[in-house]
Symmetry: D3
Subunit: 237 residues, 6 copies
């Protein structure tokens, strides 16, 4: 039995609320149960120096957690003077995941920055961020289309992400913090709307896992991402 | 005529929502019109080194803005590697303001950290932060009382803050961003529930101001803080 | 009775010595009693990036304290790797105060940097800095005039600053360290030669202050700044 | 045809040279073709503060690249003032991978730090590092055994790592730089001597990959790690 | 002919003024011509962690330049966020030089910090700093003796420093900035009152120098330091 | 008797191995006994901003130590967030030493960066670095000549370095760590192939040294550098 009494293949309640802040070109407040992330997409007419003059744009991401998003207060990274290793890993993952489904040439020489700020954390902040980021990115691109800024279709597909784990020997979907801190194995899957795999990050926390467990988790992930992709579609229509 | 069509002595719509996050001992989502700040109060059984063994506690504050709280995206301070001068000024002000109405000896050897994170900024983020911080602090202390952690009354008074300015020669209350960027003079007033002044920060943006203008602004501030103090009372009962 | 035996409205001995260093375009060694600050004004034919091409110049300030300017040695900020919050607050105040009385268009596309370095600190280092900075700035502009670098009058007024406080219930002028560490309330006033208020920063250290106390302090400040402005005039003629 | 003319399931020439530096308790100079990494294991009788007094030890890793390990000179991180995101990701991965096969209680309250410094980089520096790190760690533990410092067996298994990728639609083993920069998909596999999976990091560089491709890569990885584990065994006997 | 019209073996006008600041246990305002350095000595009852419990004290030094000590304004190191390489080199030299003539065991478990802050720079700031530092250190030790804090004699000798150079083929003593920027060779000599050499730092700026030139410079240095040592003696008696 | 049983004027076994890494334009693995340094020379078609447009090139150096190059593990500077004072001193010395024998105008508007990374440290890492750097620089210039990138001869001379010291009252050549930590005096000599002195850094560790000792050390150094210069010549032919 999972601590949340969910079935092994059951997502937490997911919601994707659009246009939640006044200024951003796109935004989404995403909830995976008690994990709440505010995602904004910012369009800027500038590029990182190493990309200038190549006829392509860029999508990048930054990630942060409010200090009291967590059960114990976490030190504010701005005050500590640097972003921690976990933050850097996550924001790199979000950026990579989005770039895989974006046609950077069609975007033109501009940068879209995705900011994912965790208001409350209960496990799965990176998967919620990626799932919400697609909605914010979509709306940012809609904003550009409405202003005739785009030559063609920038978004090639949807992208969403979910975690799976092996909890007390059972593969389960969408770990919350109570499960995550106990799980033997923890894997994050980033997948497209059409079922392709963009990223797998599977980690054995205590004991190594088997190919069979990996495939069980992949199957769960496919199911979970399928539902997230449907929710994204509903959110943007 | 103010851009917002408010009367000179009219506050923006103010709301103070309590208990908005799951983990913090106290929290408040404060809105002054389109300025939205999430404030949390965190209790920790530790003290800054220079305060240890003196039988007193400490209240401190940190302030941050989400990158896209503003019309143009602001660089994330965690990524820049340091907090800017404005951030440091504001968080020092919030901490000082709260400490003036707190009995640090009654708090005991503990620290309460107030985190003020601006979700959306339209002027007056520091005054909204202070006003909301009192509510979060109050609830944190209630949480401690419920656990018999306090010997006596820690909160000696209420504290709230409001800005005033001289906009096109007229003193006005509670500047929004459109006014703030145009105002000749801008002053922030931090006052107690009983009408005492805790802090005045008045700055002439373009031309010096007069004693008369200062007194006009003080009068407006007194009125504004009076209303904020009433709203705080309603919020916590 | 004040620890220094001064009358409540009595300044410390103030001196403003010009041209104290060899290289700077303007300089002033300012003493408010035992508070000694070396102020230099540096002209540079460059501007911060965000100001380029607008036909206006800039005046900015930096502030520092020698490590043993204080009773206990203070850690060197260059060695600590960053400027503290107090330093940043003060240098922003000095810069703002000077810009209010400068015609930045008449200055042309150049920057004047005011460096205020505290050689010895006995309270009131920011007010001494501002008062001396006006002299250094004046002399820097004289240097430019002598070289026909200016189109019109850059200085629109004088500016000086003084602190006031409520010490054992009595409002007093120009706090020294012994008073400052005991005062219930502490306020810094920056005012022009013509009596306008540029900045008020009033802080209740222990108990809130009243409007009456604020007005008493403002009255004292007006008297003190009046004398400082006279001393500035004498210094530069 | 692979640029290196290797068969799809062929590793580069691998060598694991032990005891290559004078001071370290364990060391290994590992070569995967032109990728050369110097790995040292340092025993220290201290622990990170958060681990003290729990009767367990710690294994951690740091990773660096000499500036001219690469085709173009890379900026020295010590001079840049911080470790980049890629460095942090890799050193966290190395540390996690080793801890999974270590009995931290049997280690006792001590820390072993693995330093992986890339002398020359031609793809696969993280997999070479992990593979060499096991040898250095093994020798460090031998050093401790020889001094009767250990109660029981600390090493529970071997660990090695290899990359796989999809290069021009064919799954291939052990990517070198020429392949890595062209590959559609790139995955790193960390596995134990007994065949368990410790970590999978699979990333679609251009187009998403399929479950079938993942399984093909896993099969290759299993073969490659099998050979690496044999080489480790030979190296330490 | 030297730009300053001095004879090759002629020092600039040197003055050593004691007790120039209010708080420091020892202080000296040292002038070598237009090079002016304020040196303070601070006694603290603490030690660097690595020195605790060994029955010995420590003498260390920090060095800084006011931004406009120089002809062009130099960026403030506190604002740049770190001390430059030149600063670090100089303060290490000052510390080493003083420690060589101090009996650290006789000092007891305390630290004396020498702060050398350059008010005006015209070449030779490090040699002026060392020469003045001895006076400040001497007075700090006198302060301690007067309070019966010392068991025996801490100062074993005097120490002073001077630069020499080869200017237009002639070896000259005590380079000022005009000479220093033109000199072919530049060497700093730190020597004791009894004629021992503590440190030589000789650098060929353009062309290598010869043993003969080195000996010529050493001879000049010996003469110069002899005079400085006499001036120190006069200063402290 | 020296700990290493060497004669007072005997160098350790020195080797200079060229072309040790794949990518660098020039490289040298230099050994002075158990001190092993990997030196690379990197050519870049860019200059520091302050040197642009002057028709001259630049040679600079960076220095680092692998964490376990030493008997006790040294903290990684990239992880500490800055280069220590010793590192900065050494890399400045290496850069200066090389520039003295380079015709920067003949180099053209390009930069050569010398990276000296200490793999194993047993005293004399800076002298080994300089000696090996000349070989790497030489080879980098050969690489340029082979591509017709140079107008004339860039290298004006050879440069090599050696340490001397006074160990138990005897002047000795090429201190290893065991001697260095015991020596009364320690001096580094950087000299040209033709016998000119580029830099002398002599430091009395415990007691001042005499002119006679300096001359003894200089004589030893001249002999040692003579041998190193011969070894360099053999290495590059």
């Amino acid at each position: 039995m999972r601590p949340s009494r969910r079935a092994p293949d059951e997502l937490r309640a997911v919601s994707l609320e659009r246009s939640v802040v006044k200024y951003a070109e796109g935004s989404c407040f995403v909830k995976f149960g008690d994990t709440h992330v505010l995602v904004t997409a910012t369009l800027e007419e500038r590029l990182p120096p190493w990309l200038k003059g190549q006829g392509r744009g860029w999508v990048t991401a930054e990630y942060g957690m409010l200090p009291r998003a967590t059960s114990e207060r976490t030190r504010r990274e701005a005050s500590a003077g640097k972003q921690g290793g976990r933050t850097i890993e996550i924001q790199r993952l979000i950026g990579r995941s989005l770039r895989t489904i974006v046609d950077l040439a069609a975007l033109g020489e501009r940068q879209i920055t995705i900011d994912c700020d965790v208001i409350q954390a209960d496990g799965g902040t990176r998967t919620a961020s990626i799932t919400g980021a697609w909605v914010a990115l979509h709306d940012c691109l809609q904003w550009m289309k409405a202003r005739n800024m785009l030559r063609g279709e920038v978004l090639r597909d949807q992208v969403a992400a979910i975690s799976c784990g092996v909890y007390k020997t059972t593969p389960v979907l969408d770990l919350d913090y109570a499960e995550d801190s106990e799980a033997e194995t923890d894997a994050n899957f980033v997948m497209t709307g059409s079922g392709g795999i963009i990223e797998i990050q599977g980690t054995a926390e205590k004991t190594p896992f088997t190919e069979e467990q990996l495939l069980d988790m992949l199957k769960l992930a496919r199911k979970g991402v399928g539902k997230l992709v449907d929710l994204q579609k509903m959110a943007v229509t």
